[in-house]
């Protein structure tokens, strides 16, 4: 955090100055470790063992916050009799379909009631839910009743209640297992357990911060799930100083998830519809919505979005143009797109401020995909590798590509900087902050707002008059924004107004509670509704922090409804009183009969703690006054996830795709549901692992990371002289022990090899990396900052030449934080010899198209 979010880290230091204990768990010693009370180096890829063993400690030593756990989590819920745990099936959950490499999760549901997920993969039960609800047939599979009441055991003793299942699931995640698998000594591990549990409960809270060190794994979602289980058991969610905080790496990466440029989502986390026969809006809403909680209002959110996009063309008679939305069939993630490019099915590509030729998993595959396009549009501030691979990419050097043979037409359109346009960024704490235009963009540089608006305008003009049914969605689209100045820059404020939404008379809405499913409201992103309440740009508010309370509610605007801490009803006990005065945030005011406090309550404002719903209640009214998790179908924090995850209801340790070690816990080596792309491309070979023959060819573990002085794939930093001078070239970090083992010299060169690629880096010999003892033997790790490519002032090979396209099945994110590799002294070969070395490694390891792709 001190490296990649240094200004955010000042608050960690403030906390430390007030007595907080800072624990840093990371394979590398960094600036964060230097300021922490405790640094815990561990083997990259072993975090579920580490966190799972803390869960086991909390459960077996009775360190959990019992009142919180019983009232606010699903610990008491009883799970289907058909559920089988990896403890029973040697690493698999019940319901695994080996042929399709996916789970049928019906056996993970509660007994007595089938719930829907509030996030993640919600289409998994479409047939059951849509078909049954629409009354068009019988339910399929073994799912329970959609409505009804799940059986619970508040004593937490029932052998099939979540609490007992959790205990059994993690029983072999012990300090000894941590030592053997993570390389963390028992004394150090005990100290972590002690510090964390001592600092959690009624009077104290602990926070977990993480970044892509947790997400970029084939089991990334389950890493974060393990932390979620811990924080729910310790009562650290919805309370000040608690939470699981994602430290995101781009100015508006949160915003681009909320208003998603992501294939599987519509604005506000409404799922993109999958293709199903005879699917209408009602069937979609029945399948994707919940019965209880706010997702039961998905109809209001979706209808308001459709009205926002298709305006008066969207009517009740035509299902509000629901049919205009294109449909998904499986994954269409960026990694799937690369495969379609290689297959010649996707011929055009827009890159809008992103540099996949350096920043995406398996950079070579990205370039091969682009080399098979008809046309490519790159919009960026400076010349990036994704625009120049045809000129100076690694494949030109090796002779794999010849410029004259490359057919791709490339357009480079210069982009406007943040100082040259109005607009809002959503930061990592869900807060929107407006930045104002200071000057006009130079030359032909334009904002992406300008580009999209005018591109849309031109396409609509060219298609005007078309009678083709497929052109209706684009011609009926509401696409008229006021423009300003000589360059006709569209008004960002007008777009924000559309996102905020309006009532039937065009007045701005102030809350998503006002949204209706009858077509009378419009709203481009329901969770952002209120950002322009009263017609005022709330994101542009700048009341100085020193003139406000510690919550600073009048700086910017946080979704939803300017709440700064989500699910903050949990900051009070079931009766509505703060768990402790020290940790008071939001509480029930019995005199006023409403929720109040320092933050905006994340709860219906007048729902009393003693409110109990009728049996036939639906939506938010169906949750009781003690259910803080208002987006959930049962109002509870899910320790066990009965729906929504593709790879299991509980986190389970699997080894990374390419690992020097066998899985010490189960016969199942890797995440059985991980995505290994169907295309067995020679540039995306996997490696043998553990005790498989040939695994010894790749004995070390590499992990990629970022530096303070550079930004992601370098497009915004390698072209800046200041930053290039601070970190002038690519390097690798190795321990003195590994340097001795491989003859690596400080400031000399090393060549690093995986089954995908061969790269070279300057050597930094440092005790910031420590050899660990794992499975009884010494193991070395290699640190690889991933910012470089051949353009800019600071150049070098891209670490992503080594990574593979093996993905987390929930998020479709690549595993770049733990991969087995080899390292040798000296520079890499030039020209075709570089490929020859790669092939020699593949031969020595016995790698074929099938290696590492087994379940």
């Amino acid at each position: 955090m001190a490296e990649c979010h240094p200004v955010g880290f000042q608050w960690v230091m403030e906390a430390k100055a007030r007595g907080a204990t800072i624990i840093h768990v990371d394979p590398r010693f960094t600036r964060t470790s230097a300021m922490a009370d405790l640094h815990v180096p561990l083997r990259a890829g072993s975090d579920i063992v580490f966190l799972g063993a803390i869960v086991n400690h909390v459960l077996s030593q009775d360190k959990y916050f019992r009142d919180y756990v019983v009232a606010y989590t699903n610990a008491a819920s009883i799970v289907s009799d058909d559920y089988r745990d990896p403890e029973d099936l040697d690493g698999l959950f019940s319901g695994f379909d080996a042929e399709n490499r996916q789970y049928d999760f019906h056996t993970w549901q509660y007994e007595g009631r089938e719930v829907q997920a509030a996030a993640a993969q919600r289409d998994m039960e479409y047939e059951d839910r849509a078909v049954r609800t629409a009354g068009r047939g019988e339910a399929h599979g073994s799912g329970g009743a959609r409505s009804g009441t799940a059986r619970t055991d508040p004593t937490l003793q029932h052998p099939r209640c979540v609490f007992q299942i959790l205990k059994r699931h993690f029983q072999r995640y012990t300090p000894e297992m941590v030592e053997q698998s993570c390389g963390v000594p028992p004394e150090l591990f005990a100290r972590v357990c002690d510090e964390l549990t001592r600092n959690s409960g009624r009077d104290r809270t602990s926070a977990f911060c993480y970044a892509v060190g947790w997400t970029q794994h084939t089991v990334g979602v389950q890493y974060i799930r393990t932390a979620a289980i811990l924080q729910a058991l310790l009562g650290n969610i919805g309370r000040p100083g608690g939470g699981i905080l994602a430290l995101r790496g781009h100015a508006s990466i949160q915003g681009s998830t909320d208003i998603p440029t992501l294939f599987n989502l519509l604005p506000g986390y409404i799922p993109m519809p999958y293709a199903h026969p005879d699917q209408d809006l009602a069937a979609f809403l029945a399948a994707e919505g919940t019965e209880k909680g706010y997702w039961a209002n998905i109809g209001a959110y979706t209808t308001s979005l459709l009205r926002s996009w298709w305006g008066d063309a969207a009517t009740a008679d035509n299902d509000y143009c629901f049919d205009y939305l294109p449909r998904l069939t499986g994954s269409h993630s960026t990694y799937d797109t690369v495969q379609r490019q290689l297959a010649g099915e996707c011929v055009g590509y827009f890159l809008l401020g992103e540099n996949p030729a350096v920043g995406s998993g398996n950079a070579k595959m990205q370039r091969l995909g682009m080399a098979n396009l008809d046309w490519l549009v790159v919009r960026d501030l400076t010349m990036i590798e994704s625009a120049t691979w045809w000129q100076n990419g690694p494949e030109i050097e090796t002779g794999e590509m010849t410029t004259a043979d490359l057919k791709t037409e490339v357009f480079f359109l210069p982009a406007a900087a943040h100082t040259e346009k109005n607009g809002s960024f959503t930061n990592t704490q869900r807060m929107l902050q407006w930045h104002h235009e200071a000057v006009k963009p130079p030359g032909e540089a334009r904002s992406d707002l300008w580009f999209m608006y005018h591109l849309g305008r031109r396409i609509r003009a060219k298609l005007a008059g078309s009678t083709d049914d497929r052109d209706r969605p684009i011609l009926d689209l509401t696409w008229s924004y006021p423009t300003e100045g000589a360059i006709e820059e569209p008004s960002a404020e007008a777009v924000l107004a559309e996102i905020n939404g309006s009532d039937a008379d065009g007045n701005p809405l102030s809350s998503y509670e006002q949204l209706k499913d009858d077509g009378s409201t419009r709203c481009g992103c329901w969770i952002y509704c209120g950002v322009r309440a009263d017609g005022v740009n709330q994101a542009a508010r700048r009341k100085p922090g020193r003139e406000q309370s510690w919550v600073a509610p009048e700086w910017g605007w946080a979704w939803p409804a300017n709440r700064r801490i989500l699910y903050n009803r949990a900051a009070a006990d079931p009766d509505g009183r703060p768990w402790s005065e020290r940790k008071a945030l939001v509480w029930w005011d019995a005199d006023e009969q409403k929720w109040t406090g320092h933050d905006v309550p994340d709860f219906p404002p007048t729902k009393a703690p003693d409110y109990r719903p009728d049996d036939d209640a639906r939506g938010p009214q169906a949750l009781s006054g003690t259910d803080p998790f208002i987006m959930q179908d049962d109002g509870k924090a899910w320790l066990f996830v009965p729906a929504g995850l593709t790879d299991g209801p509980l986190p389970t340790h699997y080894e990374p795709q390419d690992s020097p070690f066998d899985n010490p816990l189960y016969g199942q080596q890797r995440n059985p549901a991980r995505e290994v792309l169907p295309l067995r491309h020679p540039a995306n070979r996997m490696q043998p692992s553990g005790s498989e023959p040939g695994a010894g060819v790749f004995p070390y573990v590499a992990t990629t990371y970022r530096l303070t002085e550079h930004h992601t794939a370098g497009g915004m930093s390698r072209s800046l002289p200041y930053l290039a001078e601070l970190q002038p070239e690519f390097f690798c970090e190795v321990s003195p022990e590994l340097a001795a083992e491989r003859g690596l010299e400080q400031l000399g060169w090393a060549t690093i090899v995986s089954a995908r690629g061969v790269i070279e880096a300057r050597v930094l010999v440092t005790d910031r990396l420590t050899p660990l003892t794992v499975a009884g033997r010494t193991m070395h790790q290699i640190g690889l900052p991933y910012h470089w490519g051949p353009t800019g002032y600071s150049t070098g090979d891209a670490a992503n030449e080594l990574t593979s396209m093996s993905l987390d099945p929930n998020t479709h994110i690549q595993e770049s934080k733990a991969l087995a590799c080899d390292i040798r002294a000296g520079r890499r070969p030039r020209g075709p010899a570089r490929l020859a070395l790669l092939h020699e490694y593949q031969r020595r390891a016995g790698i074929t198209a099938e290696t590492g792709t087994e379940i």
Partner: protein, 188 residues
């Protein structure tokens, strides 16, 4: 210039006889540096902004003079950052005004080994034509008996560095065109 003034102009003289014995303050100042004022003092206006790098969202004050950005500083009012910027945020003047920025549309023809200039209007028109063609040539009305109403002909990647309003238009336009392969760095 008298001899006395000349001698007093020596930093070492001022260091030896003045209050600044370590020679790191007033003693080291030249006549030129004494008359310098910070760029922030001569700005025509200060525009409120947010750092474009990571997602902490530090406040920035953008100093403008004669229609050009002259300096970018941390915003002391921000409850997020309290005036601080990291090395990247501090370098954002160079990001926004540096010579590395491309200011013209560039075009590489198929099989060509060089860039050429294309005016923006022509480029926009060519891109619009290509979108329409790719969309049409790779259109899919249904798959496996289910309506898909989409095109797989073109894809888009990027958005995490852009504004919410920009992401909104990307998603809205491309979805209305029937594209589903719309992605950004959040996936990576």
């Amino acid at each position: 210039m008298g001899v006395r003034t000349w001698i007093e102009g020596w930093p070492v003289y001022r260091q030896a006889l003045g209050a600044d014995r370590t020679g790191r303050g007033a003693a080291a100042k030249s006549r030129t540096s004494e008359t310098l004022t910070p760029r922030t003092e001569t700005a025509d206006e200060v525009v409120k902004s947010i750092c474009p790098y990571c997602a902490v969202g530090c406040g920035q004050d953008v100093y403008v003079r004669n229609g050009a950005v002259t300096q970018i500083e941390g915003d002391p009012d921000s409850p997020v950052s309290r005036g601080r910027l990291c090395p990247k945020g501090s370098a954002s003047l160079q990001l926004t005004t540096g010579s590395s920025r491309v200011q013209q549309v560039l075009y590489r023809r198929p099989h060509s080994d060089h860039w050429e200039h294309l005016d923006l209007d022509t480029a926009m028109d060519m891109i619009a034509d290509r979108v329409i063609a790719a969309r049409r040539d790779h259109w899919q009305d249904e798959q496996g008996g289910a309506r898909t109403r989409r095109t797989m002909g073109f894809a888009s990647l990027g958005g995490a560095t852009l504004d919410n309003e920009e992401n909104y238009l990307i998603k809205k336009l491309f979805t209305a065109l029937g594209a589903v392969q719309i992605e950004n760095q959040a996936r990576v």
